[in-house]
């Protein structure tokens, strides 16, 4: 099929996905993925046309940058060690188990098994965030703990994706140095650059970010590495700037959601073979188990320790996955580490993990936000009472 014809069909799908998203209240990304599956299987559309591969690859890096830039670092300071414990457990358990299941039981290659481990160890901070904000739970301690832990898991996924498949070339030191320079330098020059050139319809500030991401992609490719880790950290260090300049963040999102990310998710869906999924339902169940069982085995005990009454809710939300699972799987497919059947199985598990644990958590385990606010209030009062005598003593001494 002619590239323009494919672009026209996908543009129609992007439009329909947006309209459906508004009508049914489901994220546009999930609908784009589903439409990609439908179009790819019904009309055998080619997902490997160079323009589509290019846009989807760039969109993956932009999504990673946005995932970092949308995080509020202050939210993650409270209960730091609890978040790190739960977040690391949520990554390590499924990563090890899914990798061992793939290499040992399914006979996948070591590299393909590592892709399976990475894709299935993820959590979806965005899925979790929507659940928590919708009910107001993002403002209470248990909600903040879950979000922080999900962020730690995301960080582990990004590090794994960058580190595991690293085969350094002579370009690697250049890639590393340039990554450090932009991570340190961009937040420093951003205020001046955005003040001097920002707030214009030609959007120099978005072009600056895109330029930096392209540089990281080029050098990452030369170095036989991945741009995801520096892109994620760059997003993180820019997050405070975007908090103070919401309009800039909004415009960047508009460009990303309108022009880039739809093609990332559509292409992901187009690569899914429904035939392969239905022919391997047993493997699908095994991979889903390799994700969910270790999440429950490792995260649940820690969640009982740090959020006793809502351990099941926290564990279920930390069992979700979507964006980084899709990014990891698409990377594996793009690099010919996994084949289309393996990709189809991984994406199906990733999508199911976005839907099923979320629905169960919301239906049966959602905490009452008013009760949680009261619990937080009592905890704050207790903390104040325990600190008061010390203050008095200090005052008495002086």
């Amino acid at each position: 099929m002619d590239p323009v014809q494919l672009a026209a069909i996908l543009a129609a799908a992007v439009l329909v996905a947006s309209m459906l998203s508004v009508e049914v209240g489901i994220s546009v990304a999930l609908i784009e993925l589903a439409l990609g599956v439908a179009l790819g299987n019904a009309f055998k559309l080619n997902p490997d046309q160079p323009w589509l591969v290019f846009i989807a690859s760039f969109a993956g890096v932009v999504l990673t940058f946005l995932a970092g830039a949308e995080v509020d670092p202050d939210d993650f300071r409270e209960r730091f060690w609890a978040s790190v414990g739960m977040g690391v457990a949520s990554f390590v358990g499924p990563f090890v188990v899914a990798t061992l299941v793939a290499v040992g039981l399914l006979g996948w290659t070591t590299k393909a098994s590592l892709i399976a481990g990475t894709a299935l160890s993820t959590t979806s901070l965005a899925v979790v965030y929507a659940v928590l904000v919708e009910t107001g739970l993002n403002t209470v301690r248990v909600g903040k703990l879950i979000m922080s832990a999900c962020f730690v898991t995301d960080m582990c996924t990004v590090i794994a994706l960058s580190a595991i498949f690293l085969k350094p070339t002579p370009w690697f030191p250049v890639f590393a140095v340039v990554s450090i320079v932009v991570i340190v330098g961009l937040p420093s020059i951003a205020p001046w650059f955005f003040r001097r050139y920002g707030d214009r319809v030609i959007e120099p500030e978005i072009k600056l970010v895109f330029f930096v991401l392209f540089v990281l992609m080029v050098l990452g490719e030369k170095a036989n590495s991945q741009a995801v880790l520096p892109a994620f950290i760059l997003g993180l260090v820019m997050s405070r700037h975007y908090q103070q300049h919401r309009q800039e963040q909004s415009r960047l999102r508009v460009v990303a959601f309108a022009l880039l990310t739809p093609f990332f998710f559509l292409r992901g869906g187009m690569n899914v073979s429904l035939g392969a999924v239905f022919a391997n339902l047993g493997l699908l169940a095994l991979l889903a188990g390799a994700k969910l069982v270790p999440k429950f085995g490792l995260v649940f005990p820690l969640a009982r320790r740090y959020a006793a009454e809502h351990a099941a809710f926290a564990t279920l939300l930390m069992s979700t996955g979507l964006t980084f699972g899709t990014i990891s799987s698409l990377y594996g497919l793009q690099a010919h580490i996994i084949n289309r059947t393996q990709f189809s199985l991984l994406i199906t598990v990733v999508v199911l993990s976005a839907i099923v644990p979320t629905a169960v958590a919301q239906r049966w385990f959602s905490p009452d936000v008013e009760i949680e606010r009261a619990v937080d209030m009592r905890a704050r009062k207790r903390a104040l009472r325990t600190t008061e005598p010390a203050t008095v003593t200090e005052a008495g001494r002086s």
Partner: protein, 143 residues
């Protein structure tokens, strides 16, 4: 004394024409009975299974702005008629929040609009239906 002394009325709005009718009805009741009025807006669902925080954030921000404007308009209408009014914007699922809110704030009458959301109504029943079934006090459904 009648068991139905309406002194603390709750009306739920969503910025629609139907909700405007419900508000108008609640204003008339409060004016006639010298009752206090609370206008409640429930933000409702955010995009489920989102792929980025941005998608959720932007919808949330749009909802905040939309409902804040709707509540301001409701407040002005109530104040013009000399009615003691308070407004509140709450996240959550409409029917659950309305029922919980009415119980938590001891409201003695809930006024809601009757909407028709084809598919949603068939599967789940309308918000008005669910509020009527679970409310702790009388419910007036305005058409």
């Amino acid at each position: 004394m009648s068991p139905y002394e309406f002194t603390n009325v709750l009306v739920a709005i969503d910025g629609s024409d139907d909700a405007a009718k419900a508000l108008d009805c609640a204003l008339s009741i409060c004016k006639a009975l010298d009752a206090q009025l609370t206008v409640l807006a429930v933000e409702g669902k955010l995009p489920a299974y989102a792929a980025s925080l941005g998608e959720v954030d932007e919808v949330k921000r749009e909802k905040d702005e939309f409902f804040s404007r709707a509540l301001d308009t409701a407040r002005e209408a109530a104040e013009q008629r000399g009615i003691d009014v308070r407004t509140d914007l709450v996240p959550g699922h409409s029917a659950d929040v309305i029922v919980y809110y009415a119980a938590a704030h001891a409201h003695d009458l809930i006024v809601v609009a009757h909407h028709s959301h084809l598919l949603g109504d068939v599967i789940l029943g309308s918000t008005a239906d669910r509020v009527a079934h679970h409310a702790p006090c009388p419910v007036m459904v305005v058409r």
